[in-house]
Symmetry: C2
């Protein structure tokens, strides 16, 4: 009797590297949250046993840390660096708000991590990422002639709105909006939180 292989994600024939485990961890994280990133389930999913895992990582914590740092780096590169090039601050903000519609995976991950902020490994990563993003917003508002305090408060407000919206949509699933509704909402947010040119 064959060993009842689970849905076998990897193309088999190859062996696993640390990066494979990290990628798998992020997949599981996006799908089922931090608690689901456990070594035995992940091993099953990758078609091996945990005997393999403990060769690559000393502990579950270490995997989590490595995976999150991988995510943090990727996040910076794909989301923010492209935006730095837009010179007009109002336009930069608008683009940030709108591009946020795509890239669902990034939001899903961020949203799951929001639910695990009490975890000692998650907390510092999220603190860095969120701090950077809020700072990005603040600088844009500064360029729009907001006072220091107003810029800070508006940045906080805008980012809070992002975070809250994520939770309400992705987690609570209060209203699965149509594409038009969603665009209308984003339009409303832009009008409300970004001063007209």
């Amino acid at each position: 009797m064959p060993p009842l292989q689970s849905a076998d994600v990897r193309a088999d024939r190859t062996r696993l590297s640390s990066a494979d485990w990290e990628a798998g961890a992020l997949d599981l994280l996006a799908e089922q949250g931090v608690a689901a990133v456990a070594v035995e389930p992940l091993a099953r999913r990758l078609g091996v046993t945990k005997g393999s895992f403990y060769w690559h990582f000393p502990s579950r914590e270490a995997l989590l840390k490595a995976a999150l740092e991988r995510w943090e780096k990727l996040d910076e590169e794909t989301v923010f660096e492209p935006l730095e090039e837009i010179v007009d601050p109002a336009e930069r903000l608008r683009e940030l708000f709108v591009r946020t519609s795509k890239e669902m995976r990034s939001h899903v991950l961020y949203s799951e991590l929001l639910k695990a902020l009490d975890h000692p490994v998650v907390q510092p990563v999220m603190a860095r990422v969120s701090q950077r993003r809020i700072h990005f917003l603040m600088q844009a508002y500064r360029s729009l002639n907001f006072s220091r305090k107003d810029a800070m408060n508006r940045a906080r407000l805008a980012y809070s709105a992002y975070v809250g919206f994520l939770q309400l949509m992705l987690q609570l699933k209060l209203t699965r909006m149509s594409a038009e509704e969603f665009d209308a909402y984003v339009g409303h947010v832009v009008e409300t939180l970004i001063p007209a040119a």
Copy 2:
């Protein structure tokens, strides 16, 4: 050797009722999240063993459900009914935003529940509570002559801002603001999200 009694919360001498367990569950929930609401730890905290628990409740799930329904009821009574009496909608919104400064426990609980929205017992309760609150906001904006769509979008935005702020402050602890900073932020939010009279 005495049985190493834990910090003994109840005034002893009395025995426990279902309500005591529910209250204890909410305490633990506020302090350490949904996952921490486990029967053996809770029993230890209450100075009994789980032999007691299973007399009052058939399962951990049942306790959680009872506790959350208790919270839902209390929330309605203490937060929203008082506000219904304020007739001027702009004033009502302002008061909602400002009173939200107090009542920390309510926010802490809501914030912890936000992190457990995938839990089948938590989800429906949170859906009801959030839906009610957003509807409350929407009606206020309607009274301020917002179009139906604008009112909906603004309500979503305002509530998202609330939810996000909760997570950023209570969970991420990005910035522990001073009382003045906090008031200034609330002022900024009021100016931004509520049209001037």
